[in-house]
């Protein structure tokens, strides 16, 4: 009896230890609390600009405001003029292509395609005044638009089709007296509306970010740390941290979650180990386009239909454009699970004039990486697919002229003639046009980085560690516990188990039958 008691007691102690140890407390720990604490105090402007005599006057031209800014902020314009916000170009090394200057002038996209020939409209989002064509003077500091980024009055708007000049309705004096640190509205005015409308391009940057709830963006929510874009995208001498792989190639100057959250942010070591191969965004942005739809597919080939000789638009039940005569047909999506890719931080780009293979989708910005690449992690991406115009003779993509500034200039959006749009557009990029065009499938990759969800909504284990239809089902060639298995081990294993069980049952049954017979005898 004593021995039984002893054994049971020992067993009890072991299991008691196990159960208590397994119920680890899930407290956040101090690092995150410290981060939250740090964002409670918001930066206050150190000076009151409205008191400066230089700004207490009526400005007739925006360049006069710039001159006033520079009169105190000596040298700042020169910093801006070194930035990619100003130059729309950076020199980058592209694997397989070498060192190339790349930017909006020679990289095409699969939305509105490209700025060349369309500057009057597209360049509304340039941080300068009057970048209306290729002759723009990038060395004139008076054309730097300080206000678009630094307006804190919320009244500064650039004019539609104004090549970056402010709308005539803007009270420049008021804006100049209310400048400060860039707010969400300053960045969002351009970055939320790229591609011709809210959330068209990114899917994770849109007007819902102006005042997001905690569910939409855990960082920017006013009931959370209430952060603004420049809290992460910090700047030194007007050089912003971070860039987008739509127009950049190299693994540098990136905003990293780890710079605030460290490389071991979880209390669970198993989760921390994931960070070697899985980007933070992969689990912490379970869905994108949370509030408003984003464009997933753009078919330019259906553009140009007219009703009674006039262009028209069709909207779906939610009021989203599904067809526009000037642009073609669209597929939008909302609350989307991202697609996932291996990405090592470097990318390639389709540069104007590159030949293409029309038999498969053209990758506008191929993101490099694979399972075997020690620098690559799994990242969430939005893939925007399109059918866009290309030169079937020369085998390269066409930069069409879309925007029309005067009658007869070939702008597709007023003439609906692809031949003319192609001719005029290709002149702008100094490439010959064969006279024959077609439409080719293209893909563009947009890493999903924003709209981080509260941790409770992070992607759960079994969304990837599952046999069928997991989030990472398309990423193959490596072993994920719970997803992968060796099928012969599975057959053999369950086979052996079944045989053992059958043998035991059979053997036992025979024993029972025999012993019963014996008793009967």
């Amino acid at each position: 009896m004593k021995r039984i008691f002893f054994s049971l007691l020992a067993l009890g102690i072991v299991f008691g230890l196990i159960t208590t140890a397994l119920h680890k407390n899930s407290s956040e720990g101090t690092p995150l609390a410290r981060l939250k604490e740090g964002h409670k105090t918001k930066a206050k402007p150190s000076v009151e600009h409205s008191l400066f005599p230089q700004l207490k006057k009526t400005f007739t031209r925006p360049q006069e405001v710039t001159a006033a800014c520079i009169s105190c902020h000596n040298g700042r314009a020169a910093e801006v003029m070194h930035s990619t916000h100003w130059n729309w170009e950076r020199t980058e090394y592209i694997e397989g292509k070498g060192i190339r200057p790349i930017g909006k002038r020679n990289v095409l996209n699969n939305f509105c395609i490209g700025i060349s020939g369309n500057e009057q409209s597209c360049n509304r989002c340039h941080i300068g005044y009057g970048y209306a064509d290729a002759t723009f003077d990038f060395n004139d500091s008076l054309n730097v638009d300080c206000l678009v980024c630094h307006d804190n009055s919320g009244t500064y708007v650039k004019q539609t089709g104004g090549a970056g000049l402010p709308d005539p309705s803007v009270d420049l004096s008021k804006v100049a007296q209310n400048v400060g640190r860039p707010a969400r509205t300053n960045c969002g005015a351009c970055h939320f509306f790229g591609g011709g409308g809210n959330n068209v391009k990114h899917g994770d940057l849109e007007e819902a970010e102006f005042e997001p709830s905690r569910d939409v963006d855990v960082h920017m929510a006013s009931e959370g740390p209430d952060m603004v874009c420049v809290d992460c995208h910090t700047a030194e001498k007007h050089q912003m941290l971070g860039k987008m792989y739509s127009v950049s190639s190299m693994n540098r100057n990136r905003v990293e979650c780890e710079s605030c959250h460290s490389t071991m942010p979880h209390s669970d070591d198993v989760l921390n180990k994931h960070m070697l191969k899985v980007a933070c965004q992969t689990c912490h942005i379970p869905i994108y386009a949370k509030v408003n739809p984003t464009k997933l597919h753009w078919d330019w080939s259906t553009a140009g239909k007219l009703r009674d000789g006039k262009p028209f638009e069709e909207k779906d039940s939610s009021g989203t454009d599904v067809y526009m005569s000037i642009k073609g047909s669209f597929i939008w999506g909302k609350k989307l699970k991202p697609e996932y890719i291996w990405f090592n931080g470097s990318a390639s780009h389709y540069l104007i004039g590159d030949t293409l293979d029309p038999s498969r989708p053209v990758k506008m910005n191929e993101l490099f990486g694979s399972y075997d690449d020690p620098d690559a992690k799994i990242y969430p991406v939005k893939i925007h697919r399109a059918d866009q115009i290309y030169d079937t003779g020369y085998g390269y993509l066409i930069q069409p002229k879309t925007v029309s500034t005067r009658p007869g200039d070939g702008g597709y959006w007023s003439e609906f003639n692809w031949q003319r749009a192609a001719e005029e557009g290709m002149k702008q990029v100094h490439l010959p046009y064969s006279g024959h065009f077609g439409f080719v499938e293209t893909e563009m990759y947009w890493p999903v980085n924003h709209m981080v969800s509260p941790k409770e909504q992070a992607v759960g284990c079994t969304e990837c560690h599952t046999r069928n239809n997991g989030r990472l089902a398309s990423l193959t060639g490596f072993y994920i516990p719970g997803r992968n298995y060796s099928s012969w081990v599975e057959y053999l294993g369950w086979g052996i188990l079944a045989l053992t069980l059958a043998a035991a049952v059979l053997h036992g049954t025979i024993r029972i039958l025999i012993s019963r017979n014996r008793k009967e005898i």
Binding site: R3, I4, F6, S7, A10, L11, V14, F15, L17, I18, A21, L22, K24, D268, V270, K273, L276, K277, Y371, D372, P374, D375, G460, C461, T462, H465, T466, R467, F478, Y479, P481, G482, R483, N484, Y485, S486, V489, E490, L492, G493, W494, I496, L497, L499, T500, L501, A503, A504, H507, G508, I510, R511, I514, R518
Partner: protein
């Protein structure tokens, strides 16, 4: 018949703790593997890792016990009576023939048990421990590290671990059944619970290998 003290306190503690841990590791392991759903994947991982460490601690104690008591000799496989023992399970058991091997406190295992347990101890358990530790501490190849130490992926480790798990699971089933094949249906189970078992009296035959050392744990 004589009541003998066959399984010592530590031996029973070790047996039952090991049994519980293996069952627990089996359930959590097959959940991680994707075969069943029980605790939820994240809990299963956490439980499995903790139980694995507990199991390692137990193994360290068990090895120590086996060597200090000399009990490890019980598990040295032998050809002697192996065939007779197999034939017993296939034919003799149905005719109520007595066990071909006499069980004594100095020779507890029949030749088949010796073979199977030795296999578990030197093959299956080590495979599970080594592959399990590699699985637990696996770090993906990183730049600037010693490349020759890199394992390309989890696959080999995980598949080995799975093979071991299936072997242990089928052992578990067979073991549960064979418990009932003692002198009476429950005699083996009772012995492992209380430590005492009714065994045939009489001197030990020379053929059986006696344990050379006196057991350290004297009762």
């Amino acid at each position: 018949m004589k009541k003998e003290y066959v399984y010592r306190a530590f031996e029973r503690f070790w047996h039952w703790t090991q049994a519980a841990l293996i069952i627990f590791l089996g359930v959590t392991g097959f959940e991680i593997h994707g075969s069943i759903r029980f605790f939820g994947f994240d809990q299963a991982v956490r439980y499995h890792n903790f139980a694995a460490i507990s199991f390692l601690v137990l193994i360290v104690f068990a090895i120590f016990w086996h060597f200090t008591t000399g009990e490890w000799r019980q598990y040295v496989p032998t050809w002697e009576n192996l065939r007779a023992q197999a034939e017993y399970y296939v034919f003799g058991i149905f005719r109520n023939v007595p066990h071909p091997t006499r069980k004594t406190s100095l020779s507890k295992l029949n030749p088949l048990q010796k073979l199977v347990y030795a296999g578990l101890k030197v093959l299956v358990i080590p495979i599970m421990v080594v592959s399990g530790l590699l699985y637990m501490f696996y770090r993906y190849p990183q730049r600037y590290e010693v490349l020759s130490l890199n394992v390309g992926g989890l696959e080999i480790i995980a598949v080995l671990h799975t093979i071991g798990a299936f072997l242990l699971a089928s052992f578990f089933i067979a073991h549960l059944y064979l418990v009932t094949t003692g002198r009476t249906v429950t005699s083996n189970l009772k012995a492992m619970v209380t430590g005492y078992e009714e065994l045939e009296a009489g001197p030990v035959e020379k053929k059986a290998q006696p344990v050379l050392h006196e057991p350290v744990l004297s009762e």
